[in-house]
């Protein structure tokens, strides 16, 4: 049985193209806002990867003489109260946001896919217990769960990834379970059973690949949520600790004291967060419209 067949999905969405670049051109024409989102995400990822080449100053080095310097030719986005260049900290902060968002999505999705697939395929007592556990986890707002996890694990980059990944598990598991429940009744699964294929092989080789589409949509949609959660945790002092230049922590440091005297410390880190999350939302919406057959008229 086919896995996520992009050519088939594009054809179903109305594309009449060949090749990878044709698909890209179709996507840009059909979903211009999604293409903008993709560009924003590309800028974000490239900034994170090539941060040392895009900045002049070390994001951690302090300079008392430049404390609270306004934006200028020397410091494009100004300096903070310790004389650290804001532009450099924002560019390097993209690494933190990228690491936390991708890391937590990968970890949360891995656990969620495993639980959802097993739960939807095995059913019975296992499904009952897992579903009750996931409902319990979803009873608390995501940020509250993340705060408690972060407090329990302690402040560090790795613990922040875990603290955000764990609350994501129920969302992923429920989507995968719902998909698995419908897929296990499909004729191709019955056919696989009829020829004597093992349940494990059917689940891994046939059912799991067909859950990729909703997983991609969910992962892209949740990417923005993870970035917002990380920035909120860091703003509260429970996320990524010093000296990592996290965007949320930059806002926390400048929150009350410099709102009047150094507004650039509030504006630019917040713009960075909003811009990237905006891009993920645009891209996520477009992917959902592309891959969700109910959205096609």
């Amino acid at each position: 049985m086919s896995t996520l067949d992009f050519n088939a999905e594009l054809a179903a969405a109305g594309a009449n193209v060949r090749g990878r670049w044709g698909a890209v051109r179709f996507f840009i024409r059909r979903f211009p806002l999604g293409a903008i989102g993709g560009v924003i995400m590309a800028v974000f990822v490239l900034a994170a990867i090539f941060a040392p080449f895009l900045t002049v100053y070390d994001p951690l080095s302090t300079n008392a003489a430049a404390s609270l310097a306004r934006p200028s030719a020397a410091h494009w986005l100004g300096c903070d109260f310790m004389g650290r260049d804001v532009y450099s900290r924002i560019v390097y902060g993209a690494r933190i946001s990228l690491a936390v968002s991708v890391g937590s999505m990968l970890l949360g999705s891995s656990i969620g896919v495993t639980l959802g697939l097993l739960s939807g395929y095995l059913l019975g007592w296992f499904d009952l217990i897992v579903q009750r556990f996931l409902e319990m986890m979803q009873s608390l707002p995501l940020l509250v769960m993340a705060i408690i996890m972060a407090a329990a694990l302690g402040p560090s980059l790795h613990n922040t990834i875990i603290a955000i990944a764990i609350p994501l598990v129920p969302y992923v598991a429920r989507v995968i379970r719902a998909n698995t429940l419908s897929l296990r009744e499909q004729p191709f699964v019955e056919a696989a059973k009829a020829i004597g294929m093992s349940e494990r092989r059917i689940a891994l080789r046939h059912v799991l690949p067909n859950t990729l589409a909703p997983l991609i949509v969910l992962a892209t949609a949740q990417l923005g949520s993870t970035i917002l959660t990380e920035s909120s945790l860091s703003f509260l002092g429970l996320g990524v600790p010093e000296p990592h230049p996290s965007w949320g922590r930059m806002l926390s440091e400048s929150a009350a004291e410099y709102v009047r005297t150094a507004p650039w410390l509030v504006i630019f880190p917040g713009l960075a967060i909003s811009f990237v999350v905006f891009g993920t939302n645009l891209l996520g919406d477009a992917l959902r419209d592309l891959l969700d057959p109910r959205q096609r008229s």
């Binding site: 009750r132 556990f133 409902e135 319990m136 986890m137 009873s139 608390l140 707002p141 995501l142 940020l143 509250v144 705060i147 408690i148 996890m149 407090a151 329990a152 694990l153 302690g154 923005g224 917002l228 920035s231 909120s232 703003f235 509260l236 002092g237 429970l238 949320g248 806002l251 929150a255 009350a256 709102v259 009047r260 507004p263 509030v266 504006i267 917040g270 967060i273 909003s274 811009f275 999350v277 905006f278 939302n281 645009l282 919406d285």
Partner: protein, 315 residues
């Protein structure tokens, strides 16, 4: 219906029990405890003093015993006392609940009054410039961190009014009271209104594609009658569910908003209690949040069944 209610109530109790165990265990994993903080803050040097502090606070008991003590007290209305302030937990929590409740209510009202009408307009004017503009606004609302919006509001307030909205237990005058709550409520409600807008739009578009809408149009009904009499009533059904979910999950946004505006509500108190490893307060606050969320979800399910005659629980 009776059997459904009993089953549902049982599930609620089971969920709350599970959350209580989860939060209790997680807090015991936290590196260090309140005794470490009190020991360091008090300037003690003798480790025997720390052991005494732990004994006084009951932290030297086994974790299952500590859990039983806590749950037993909770069921009798005894929430213990705050390690940080040494006051009864109930005395700390109760005055803060109305503050957070008022903020949440105003934020939810703001989000519904702004989000739902704009969602309807966006759906009715689908694929026009106005629709694209509103969709960009709604996506912006979902993209902006609530605490950043709060900080921007503070900046604007300083720049244009020369002052910032400061919370006060005794607001001077009715309009000052409204302003005091409205500004932070707007900061946290903006995201909710964006979500309402998107969902209302999506729901309206779904309904406008239905056969009975086509029938009404073919019978010569005006667009206004079709949109606001036939379509809107049915489109609001899923929106009601989301309003309930948002009411429960606003607490997440209120945590950062109360911190930015320095409002002494329950949500901000949770963060302070976590920083202090004040176990009784954190446990009680999380259980309070869980009870609120679970109760609101149950109420929304019942409301949904009351509004939509197609839904029958326990049938």
């Amino acid at each position: 219906m009776g059997a459904y209610l009993v089953r549902r109530f049982g599930l609620m109790v089971l969920t709350l029990f599970g959350i209580s165990v989860l939060i209790f265990v997680l807090l015991r994993l936290t590196p260090g405890n309140i005794a470490d903080i009190l020991f360091d803050a008090g300037g003690y040097v003798d480790p025997a003093d720390k052991l005494k502090i732990e004994h006084d606070l009951g932290l030297d008991k086994s974790i299952p015993l500590q859990y039983i003590d806590w749950i037993g007290g909770l069921l009798h209305g005894d929430l213990g006392y705050s390690y940080q302030t040494e006051k009864p937990a109930l005395e700390e929590i109760l005055p803060r609940i109305p503050i957070t409740a008022r903020l949440a209510a105003i934020a939810l009202t703001f989000s519904v009054l702004i989000g739902v009408p704009l969602g309807v307009i966006s759906a009715v004017k689908q694929n026009t410039v106005l629709d694209y503009f509103l969709r960009v606004i709604s996506l912006s609302g979902l993209s902006m961190p609530a605490f950043w919006l709060g900080l921007l509001i503070l900046m604007g307030s300083v720049a244009y009014f020369g002052t910032i909205p400061i919370y006060s237990d005794q607001p001077t005058g009715f309009w000052n009271a409204i302003l005091m709550y409205s500004v932070p409520a707007a900061a946290v409600g903006f995201r909710s209104s964006a979500l309402m807008m998107r969902l209302t739009r999506s729901s309206m578009l779904e309904v406008l594609r239905q056969d009975y809408i086509r029938t009404a149009r073919s019978k010569g009904a005006s667009e206004g009658t079709i949109n606001y009499y036939h379509a809107l009533r049915n489109a609001l059904l899923p929106v009601i569910t989301v309003i309930g979910i948002e009411a429960a999950f606003l607490l997440g946004g209120l945590i950062v908003t109360e911190t930015v505006f320095n409002i002494p509500g329950v949500a901000r108190f949770l963060v302070e209690a976590i920083r202090w490893r004040d176990y009784p307060m954190v446990q009680n606050l999380v259980m309070f949040i869980a009870i609120v969320v679970v109760t609101i979800n149950f109420a929304i399910d019942m409301l949904y069944a009351a509004v939509d005659p197609r839904i029958k629980y326990g049938a």
